[in-house]
Structure formats: structure tokens, C-alpha cells
Amino acid sequence: MELPRRNPVTRRWLALSPAIVVVSIFMILPMIILLVFSFMEADPYGGVDPGFTTEAYVQILYERDFDDLLIFDPVYLNIIGRSVLLALLATIGCLVLGLPVAYFIARQSSRTQSLLLYLITIPFWTNLLVRTYAWILLLSSDGVIEQPLKFLGVIDESLDMMYTNGAVAVGLIYSYLPLMVLPIYASLEKLDFRLIEAAHDLYADRFRVARYVIFPLAAPGIVAGCILVLVPSLGAFIAPDLLGGGKKLMLGSLIQVQFASARNWPFGSAVAICLLALVMMMLMYQARIASKRRRETGD
């Protein structure tokens, strides 16, 4: 077999074309369609009706009363607020849990490091639905956590841990924890431990070492980890759905419901566009920080 004799440039674009075509048609085009849908009228039977309107976006903030007057309605704003709050909570939880662990791993021998990293990546690659479902077994009344407590007489009544914001937060932290540890580990792994020794020699105590040496060096990993956790947490569907019981709606569930049962596609599209805008802003912020850091350190 002989490859057609073409110049390298043509051949390069030929090799790239399947990826470009597939992603453009099945990813970019759908996003554009979503944007267009968000400015169309809702069809009561699902889908959209032609006609330009900003109704879907107005609906996020206001409700129309019988006289067609707009009344401020915080229902959806509450959902957005709760999503942002829970996502932030999950991010902080992951950071508090993950930062010391990333540091611990970075200090081990390379064999132990590799084993611990393997243990951290395993949950990440296992089914999110299954892992979240496991929390139902733990948290539900008469579940694995409550049974021994009841047996020991610590509690009489059920703790009612399921279907709470706390349960959703625990589920979110659990879902995205590896995404926090791995980037922080990546920046700490390159840490020159002689710097810590030097700080000690200059009479810095352990907490000053953490504050002025370790933390600044871990900062790029912390920023990357926080964004990696925050972005999927904002649009999460499984954790709020299974552990929040659909009552504690978050953005992801709100969007899903509009397309599945509520049949208001333009409204669902508008919320999805808002979510995308939020995410893009965060990614741009991270890119700016990263490029600023590169300029400062000069690599």
C-alpha cells in the first residue's frame, strides 16, 4: 500500500479533518442550535416554535402575572444560587480534604507515590452513577451509617441524612475529589524540598513554611484543581438527583427537567447557555492566571 503522494501540509490537514469535522458538526453546531433555541418560543408539546423572543431569559428572573406584568420571581435565581453555593462548598471541601493528601503523596518514595496515585485515579474512572448510588446505602435511614449508631444507642431517631443539601455536598465532594488532588500533586511533585529546609534554617516555623513556601508553590495546582471541581459541580446532575431527591434542584437537573418532562426547551436552553457562560468565564480566568504566572516565572 502506498500513501498518496501529497505535500506534508495537505496530508496534515487531511489527517486532522475527521476530528475537526466530527467535533464541529456534533459539538459546535449543537451549541449554536442551543443558543438559537434559547431565543425561540416554547412548543407545549416539546421542541420549539419559530419566532424571536427573549422570553426564556426573562423567565429566569421574572414571572408574568395575569395582566402580563413582570413580577420578580426568585425561584430560578434560588436554584442558580444554590448550585453556585453547593458547587463552592464542594470545591472548598475537596481542597480541605485533598491539599494535605497531595502534599503527603508528594513526599513519598516514587514507588509509593505511584501506588497512591493509582488508588486515587481508580474512583475517578469508575461509574459516577454507581459511586453516588453507594452513598444511598450509607446515608439512607437504616443505612450503613445509622444501623450501628442505633444498635449502640447513640441515636434513637433516624438522622434523615438523605435528601439534604449536606448529602448533595458529600456526593459532589466524593465525585470530584480526584480532580482536586491530581493537579495539586502535580505542582507539589516538582517542589524542591531544599526550599523547606532553607526556610527552617532561617527559623521559619512549620506554619510559616506552609504559608510562605508550600502554599505559593502549590497555588497553580490549587487554582487548576478548584476549577476542575467547580465546573462539573455546577452542572452536576447525578448527585443532586439521587442524594437531593430531585427536591434540591441544581442547574444540571433544572436543565434536564426542561428537556425531559417540563417540555420547555427554550427555557432549558437559556439556562444551559447561562451555565456555559459561567464556565467560560471561569476557564478564561484560569487561563489568565496561568499566562500571568508563565510571564512571571519566564518558562
Binding site: 489527517a15 486532522l16 467535533v23 449543537p30 469508575t126 446505602l137 439512607s140 444501623q147 446532575f237 444551559a272
Partner: protein
Amino acid sequence: MIKMAKKKIYKIGDYPGLTGWTVFFFAYLYMPMIVLVVYSFNESRRAQIWKGFSLDWYVKAFSNDDIQSAALNSLIVAVIATVFATVISTLAALALARGRQFRGQAAVTGLISLPLVVPEIATAVATLSFFAVIGFKLGLVSIIIAHTVFCIPFAFLPIRARLQGMDDAYEQAASDLYANDWQTFRYVTLPLMMPGVVAGAMLAFIISIDDFIITLMVSGAGSTTLPLYIYGMIRQGITPEVNVISTVMLVLSIIFITVYWFVSKKAEETG
């Protein structure tokens, strides 16, 4: 001075409770999965009350026709999506990691990585809207298309990493020895990049098998995959059968990722 020396008993850079914290961390990470596996052997009808050891629910789950067809659907989708995603990604990685830098390189890389940064729910409803606009019937084919796109970055990144870590001296040596482009690719580049291709294909396969939210939005009647079936069962109330299929999926993923781990490690050592 004596006081100062006394203060420095601990190892430099060590913090109290760090080991304990790490143990707690791994317990938190693994406890739910261990509970799930243990409870899949539960005899009781009620999924979260332990009664005794039994394999009955495994027998029941494996002989369940719906579960079998859901598993088959998952497998068909994952295999086809993996093949497409891997071929597309291999071509793209070759074009991006070999040869000189070119205008638009960053843009193309960004485009390929796009499915990684867009929240899954947005991808899901956008893809659904797209199929609605072109009037495409939802079913296995729509799932395969959506999965292929979503799997491309997961296949692409390990393949590109492998190519970037490869010395192109071998390829140059091959051309010096009058191998034509095809021969160089077939007998030098491809065997060398193979660990990366295998790793990429495995990641794509896992991502496809496990995907839930995108599949939920673009599936139609008769195209239930395993995660969709599990979700349906959880919604109806938890039964030991859910524990069984969940455990099977968990174990499969762990086997896969372990093999992937060894393949990519070997790639590192030989690369």
C-alpha cells in the same frame, strides 16, 4: 539555644496528623465502594439491611433479560464509539505531534479538547437539540455518535502524550534507509505509538461504558444502556439486584483502569 533544638524534633516538612488525614481520605474514597461490593452478596430483599451471605441476586441479575439486553447495548455502543474515536484521535495526534508547528495548531487542539470543558449536561441537551433539528431518530445510532464525540479527547490525550515522548530519530533513521512514508509509519511509528493508542482506546471505552447523562438525553425506545437501566432501578426503589450490577460495573472499570495503568507505565519505561 537548647529550647530551639528541642523544638526541631519533628522531621523537616512534616506536619502532625498528615498520615492520619491521608488514611481518613482513602477511607472516605473507598468505603462506599466496599459497602456496595459487600452488600451485593446480601441475602435480604431490602438492599441496605444485611441478612446473610448469598449469591442468589447474582444469579437473578445475570438471568434477567432486560439486564442482558442493556449490557449488550452498552457493549455495542462502547465498542463502535471506541473504534471511531481512536481512529480519529490517532490521525489527529499524528498530525499535531509530528512535523513542524503550524498556524491554527492551538485552535485545533482546543477544538478537540472541547468536550472535556463543556459541562456534560450542556453537551447532552445540545446534542438532543441537534438531533431534533435534523429529525434524526433517537436510538443506538444517536448514542454512538454522541459517545464518539465525547470520547475523542480521552483517546486523543494519551496518544498525543506518547507521540510527544517519542524520539523521532527512529523515523528519520527509517527514511535514511529508504523506507517510504507508509513503511516508516507501518513498521516504525505505529509500533512505537501503540501503547499510547491502546491506552487511549481503553480510556475511551471506559468513558463510553460509564456515561450516563448524555446517554439519558439521546437514547430512544429500546436503546437502554446499563447505566440507564441502573438509574431506572434506583428510581423505583433500591433492590439487591442494583447492588449486583453496580458491583459488576465497578469491578469491570477497576480491571480496565488497572490494565491501562500498567500499559501506560510500560509505555513510559520504553518511551
